[in-house]
């Protein structure tokens, strides 16, 4: 009886396993046969390597994506970038001299006083449901954001006085006053929160709850085929994209909230591309760099990693203390020990990637411990009876880079005999404390894109990211002056002056320049963070644009000498299991015979 039962079980299990393995292998080979247009080699005034059509590109997104409409909440950036178009945009090329370029806008004219901006739209642009994209859609999107005060309003749109649409394909934007930084800010907002939405589907509805947030109809390179919040989004190429069909047939973005899990899945071959949100440990980068068939790309990124000292609190209201701390920071040590040498040190008021704007005479103090100690003594903070000059706290959000930075700074300030308590919070807590100015020292990232007009945001007394409470009348005036100065050389002179004052005041302390990592499976080209003609810079349409990604099987590298079959992990595990089963079985049998 017993034996018969056993015999039945074994084939059933093998059958199930066989079927599972079969289906898994079937699912990987599916190629559709469509008629493709000739490859697009000339775009936005640059030559690109002709790509090959077809294939599926898989990647992962670490941010949760609950709905696909970035305009009312600045979330779902990666997914919306595939579906929607913007008026104008940037991509990683901005760090390499490729400025903003048109997305829906074919061309534009700017009045000499920088007040009136006329955009001409592509006339063949259509929504995914076939309705043409017109100036009315742009006007509707912009005006709704302004009316409802959605994120892009305070970022850029509140400078607008009126929007006119003389014909279906022309948008005329008139500003309240001369503003030389408008185009840059408009392109920047487009990256996160200024996608053009279809008026015919959104008019008269609440953007927060519109059902099209779950079945988005955009005008971008990909259509949404399937969106499962919390799981994945499947996109298919939009054959009628006004800029010419994307190379790949299908794009799959999965939501993977855990960096370790995401990187493991990439290593196992599940994804073709992941970015630096999936680097849990810096040592992993070197490891992946050595791995066959994986390309690691390092490109410039618009943020620095810096610390903000709270001007409203003692002792940081004292310029001598701020200067002392600037002297006390060893950037080389942060770069090498903290970031494995990947992030370059920055001593200027602008990151090294925007060197055309840097004032070389305005540099932050270099590391000098004795100088720092002298300054602290002079400022009235000698070493007290408890062995410390004063007590303070450093805080940061749950971001890997900030965590490393906070740890390093804590260590370096303790060498100055400053007692630093390190506190790390979850994102919501940290952001609310930071916005309320409830911190002593906090890690932060200053964004320098696209040009120093961004100083307004961080260093003007009314700037919305001036968390440290910095105020200098002269800086305020100079920043305002820079907006209305239409001559480029004069503007640069003003920016140089601002940089000098900011460095003198130690308004913040930039430490290293954050870099952007991408991990790419060999054979994929047109990646947004790689240089043309093979990379996608200059035609990616935002940071996450995968419209021009394409695949060509890489030339096979010489086959590695196969390792002997008995060192295969599968074999070793199988042997261990067999031995264990045999041992237990024989032991049980022995025990039985002994009992009888």
């Amino acid at each position: 009886m017993r034996k018969a039962k056993l015999k039945l079980k074994v084939p059933l299990i093998t059958l199930i396993v066989a079927i599972i393995l079969l289906t898994s292998s079937v699912s990987t080979c599916a190629v559709s046969a469509t008629e493709y247009p000739p490859p697009n080699t000339w775009e936005n005034g640059r030559y690109y390597t002709p790509g090959q059509y077809g294939g599926t590109f898989r990647t992962a997104d670490i941010e949760p994506c609950e709905q696909i409409n970035p305009d009312w909440s600045a979330t779902s950036s990666m997914e919306s970038a595939q579906v929607y178009s913007r008026l104008i945009c940037f991509d990683y090329g901005v760090m390499y001299g490729i400025g903003y370029y048109g997305d829906l806008a074919k061309s534009w004219e700017i009045s000499p006083d920088f007040k009136v901006y006329t955009f001409h739209l592509y006339e063949n642009a259509t929504w995914h449901d076939g309705v043409p994209v017109t100036s009315a859609d742009v006007k509707y999107t912009f005006e709704t954001i302004m009316e409802k005060d959605y994120p892009a309003n305070s970022y850029v749109l509140n400078r607008i006085e009126s929007i006119a649409t003389p014909d279906e394909y022309t948008v005329v934007i008139t500003l309240k006053k001369t503003d030389t930084s408008f185009m840059g800010a408009l392109a920047m907002a487009g990256m996160w929160m200024l996608s053009i939405l279809p008026k015919h589907l959104y008019e008269g509805t609440d953007w927060k709850t519109n059902p099209y947030n779950l079945h988005p109809i955009g005008s971008g390179p990909f259509k949404v085929e399937e969106f499962v919040p919390g799981e994945y989004t499947v996109f298919v190429a939009n054959d009628n994209w006004f800029r010419g069909r994307p190379y790949i047939d299908k794009l799959i973005i999965e939501q993977v909230p855990d960096p370790v899990a995401g990187l493991n899945a990439f290593k196992a071959g599940k994804y073709d591309y992941v970015d630096n949100s999936y680097v849990p440990q810096w040592a992993e980068i070197a490891d992946l760099n050595r791995t066959e068939g994986i390309r690691v790309t390092l490109s410039g990124w618009v943020y620095d990693l810096s610390i903000l000292l709270n001007f409203r609190r003692k002792p940081f209201d004292n310029p001598l203390v701020r200067e002392a701390i600037a002297y006390g920071i060893n950037r080389t040590e942060v770069r090498i020990k903290g970031f494995y040498g990947y992030y370059p040190e920055t001593y200027w008021a602008i990151i090294p990637f925007f060197k055309q704007y840097i004032n070389p005479n305005a540099t932050f103090p270099d590391y000098n411990l004795t100088k720092a100690e002298e300054l602290l003594d002079k400022a009235g903070y000698p070493i007290g009876p408890d062995g410390y000059r004063f007590h303070t706290t450093i805080t940061n959000g749950p971001y890997p880079d900030d965590k490393v930075l906070a740890e390093m700074i804590t260590e370096q300030l303790r060498r100055l005999k400053i007692d630093v308590t390190w506190a790390m919070y979850d994102s919501a807590t940290w952001v609310s404390k930071r916005n309320a100015g409830d911190f002593d020292i906090t890690c932060y990232w200053v964004n320098y894109c696209p040009d120093p007009s961004i100083f307004y945001r961080f260093f003007h007394s009314k700037g919305w990211s001036n968390y440290m409470g910095y105020y200098n009348q002269e800086v305020d005036e100079l920043i305002e002056q820079s907006f209305v100065t239409t001559d480029e050389e004069q503007r640069q002179e003003i920016w140089n002056k601002i940089q000098e004052i900011l460095v003198k005041d130690i308004a913040w302390i930039p430490i290293v320049n954050e870099m952007y990592f991408t991990f790419i499976r060999e054979g994929w080209h047109g990646i947004p963070s790689e240089l043309p003609p093979d990379g996608g810079m200059g035609r990616s349409y935002t940071w996450f644009g995968f419209a021009r990604v394409w695949y060509a099987a890489p030339t096979p590298s010489p086959a590695p000498t196969p390792s002997p079959w008995f060192t295969e992990p599968g074999f070793i595990i199988a042997i261990v299991i067999v031995i264990a089963v045999a041992a237990v079985g024989s032991w049980v049998a022995w025990k039985r015979t002994r009992r009888t």
């Binding site: 289906t23 909440s73 994120p151 919390g230 855990d258 071959g269 032991w587």
Partner: protein, 325 residues
């Protein structure tokens, strides 16, 4: 006390418990610093937009006013709108429950089966090497952090051997027949279920072992043995049935907690279940969603408890409903 009266009394208690849970949670969650505006506004947030969002969701009102508004909604059977999803909380939760029930339900089935039988077997065989082997191995797995064990399984079976998928509940963009989908789901289930089973089965082993060991010393077992019944009959017919009470309590507790999902496992395997929903809602400070999930969990635990009391009376006729034990 009649059965209906008992049920009625328990349901009254349930309503009281759920209300208490909702109130405590409401104030606890709102005590955490930061709110949903910070999340929605993104990395480039401006203070102005944060204030707009607060106004729009009524977060600028005094906490007690917010509480009365929430209670009013709650009594109308409305758990509110999720801030981040822009959808009713009920529909968001409903979309995540199947994934969680599949994962935790299947795991629980194996946990109970394997745990109880191994535990009971060990209890029967006390003292012996088998017993100490089962007991110790289950202890070793029980003390492993879920997170660590999950990642280890991923590394061995996902990255090196490539036998099983690493993340997600299904292959995105899969084409094929109904059975292809089913098998794809089963294939995705293996690793997360294995993680949960390995970590949790020890709990049942310990309980089953202890209660069987106690039963085995009872006189009626000795009697059965002296009559000459086979071990197998004693085990199934006499020992296991009597040892079921503590195990049933445990099962009911776990069934109640089932809708809460398995947070760590769901995060590691990118499983779109309730655990991950709660985690993400907490980080985004999506208050209505959080309160909604806690309320659903409170209700299911309370209902499971009533279920236990009913089952008790069937398993052990000596226990009567509603009487003090």
């Amino acid at each position: 006390m009649s059965f209906t009266k008992f049920i009625f009394k328990r349901i009254l208690g349930l309503i009281f418990v759920v209300l208490l849970v909702v109130s405590i949670n409401f104030f606890l969650i709102h005590m955490a610093p930061g709110d949903v505006a910070n999340y929605l506004a993104g990395r480039e947030a401006s203070q102005q937009y944060i204030e707009t969002i607060r106004r729009e969701f009524g977060l600028d009102k005094p906490l007690f006013t917010q509480f009365t508004i929430y209670l009013d909604q709650f009594f109308h059977g409305n758990l509110g709108y999720s801030y981040t999803f822009g959808r009713p909380v009920i529909s968001v939760i409903a979309s995540r429950i199947p994934a969680t029930l599949t994962l935790v339900g299947i795991s629980l089935f194996f946990i109970i089966l394997i745990g109880t039988f191994l535990g009971a077997y060990a209890g029967m065989r006390y003292p012996s090497i088998t017993e100490s082997l089962i007991s110790n191995i289950s202890f070793i797995f029980y003390s492993m952090p879920t997170y660590w064990l999950g990642l280890l399984l991923v590394l061995i079976f996902g990255v090196y051997l490539k036998w099983f998928p690493i993340s997600g509940m299904a292959t995105a963009g899969l084409e094929g027949s109904f059975w292809t989908y089913v098998l794809d789901r089963i294939w995705h289930l293996v690793l997360p279920v294995a993680t949960l089973v390995l970590v949790w089965f020890g709990e049942y082993v310990q309980i089953a072992r202890a209660s069987i060991m106690e039963i085995m010393n009872e006189p009626f077992i000795t009697t059965a043995r002296s009559i000459g019944y086979k071990d197998r009959i004693i085990f199934f017919k006499h020992a296991l049935r009597n040892a079921m009470l503590p195990i049933v309590t445990m099962i009911a507790l776990h069934l109640g907690l089932m809708v809460g999902g398995a947070l760590f496992t769901e995060i590691i395997f990118s499983w779109p279940g309730m655990g991950r929903l709660i985690y993400e809602a907490m980080l985004a400070r999506d208050y209505p969603l959080l309160l909604g999930t806690y309320t659903i969990m409170a209700i299911s635990v309370a209902v499971a408890n009533i279920g236990v009391d009913v089952i008790y009376s069937f398993l052990d006729p000596r226990i009567k409903l509603g009487e003090k034990r």
